[in-house]
Amino acid sequence: MATLTRITSAASAVRVVCPVLGHRVTQVRYRKTINTRSKKHISVKKAKLLAVTQWKAPQDSRVTMAEKCGLNMERMQQTVLQENPLRDLMAKEAREVLETSGMVAVLHTNDFSGPERRVFCTKLKESDITVRFWSNTVAGLAVQNTPYSALTTLMVGKNLYAHSLQPHVAQLMKVLKVTPQVNLIGGLVDGLLMSKADMEHYAQLPSMEQSLGEVVSVLSAGVGQTNQLLLTPLQQLSRNLQQISSEAV
């Protein structure tokens, strides 16, 4: 081990003399003192070399060939599910929205941020449609173990979710026509899973009151016709009798 032997000189340099080799090996230090307190970090190269020399246990090969071939796939398909209370809370909220809303539309977005997004959300808010930005993880957890678990096929990439208490599909379609960055890919309307074409067809349907009025008019049309057929001969008879009585007078 090298010991520090202070050898004064004109340059105030310090000569380090090795006690074993003596005067044959000397080093000249031009700095104040040697750092003997804080540990010097190992360089990356040295650390890599040391890591290579570490002993690695041999692989446990006490498995059958079939298990060996299938084991890799199982390991690849295993994933780590970390606990995340915020994610669980958001999933719970999403599930409540799913159960209480009359319409939940899944929208595919391209590049949609900033003022465009705000304008889009504001336009939908005028029709009582709220836009939510749930991740696929949160939405998937919300839909798990529900009759609507088929919605997971849509949960790929970046999605928006537009929901409302009443199914305002026509209003949603109007806003989407003006927003090319967002595409409707499907949704849940009145408890039914629908594709884009189904939702477009739903938007063209008349309102409930209008439909009820049409049904009532169709039902009453038959009754009215029967009533007219029965009354026409009686009316004709009464007219003829009046005519005869007026002629007799």
Binding site: T109, D111, V156
Partner: protein
């Protein structure tokens, strides 16, 4: 070429939603980020993306991610005249990306079993052939 890590991530999606947390999404995004920095639409005239979202997540993920990357505002700035249209079908058909270049040549990707990195790689190779100024990212 998509590496084994990207293909591994594809397998993860097939068991959705049990495997909710995919630890390799960062790897995919980091590599894709390098490609999206250099993606240009200069030699292209039209891009038509057709997919059925109900066909399954494994088939549509590449198509949707490719569409997102092409429709990125930075990518669109390279050629504002390029038309990007999306057609959402309902017939369980496989997704198709139809690219038409300015010189009339067409490049059609049936992206059901392709990774988006493979699509970008092929697309950029074609672009580099047409325009020598375009450099391929490493």
């Amino acid at each position: 070429m998509a590496t084994s890590t990207e293909r591994f991530a594809r397998i993860v999606y097939s068991n959705w939603p049990s495997n909710v947390f995919n630890p390799l999404t960062r790897v995919i995004n980091k590599r894709m980020w390098k490609w999206t920095q250099g993606v240009t639409l200069k030699p292209t005239a039209k891009i038509l993306v057709e997919f059925d979202p109900w066909a399954g997540p494994e088939k549509t993920i590449s198509c949707r991610n490719t569409l997102r990357m092409f429709a990125n505002h930075k990518t669109r700035k390279t050629n504002p005249k390029c038309e990007i249209t999306t057609k959402i079908k309902n017939d369980r058909s496989e997704p198709v990306i139809d690219i038409e270049y300015s010189d009339g040549e067409r490049l059609v990707f049936k992206s059901a079993h392709l990774h988006e990195l493979e699509i970008f790689e092929k697309y950029m190779q074609k672009c580099a052939e047409k325009d020598p100024e375009i450099k391929l990212p490493n």
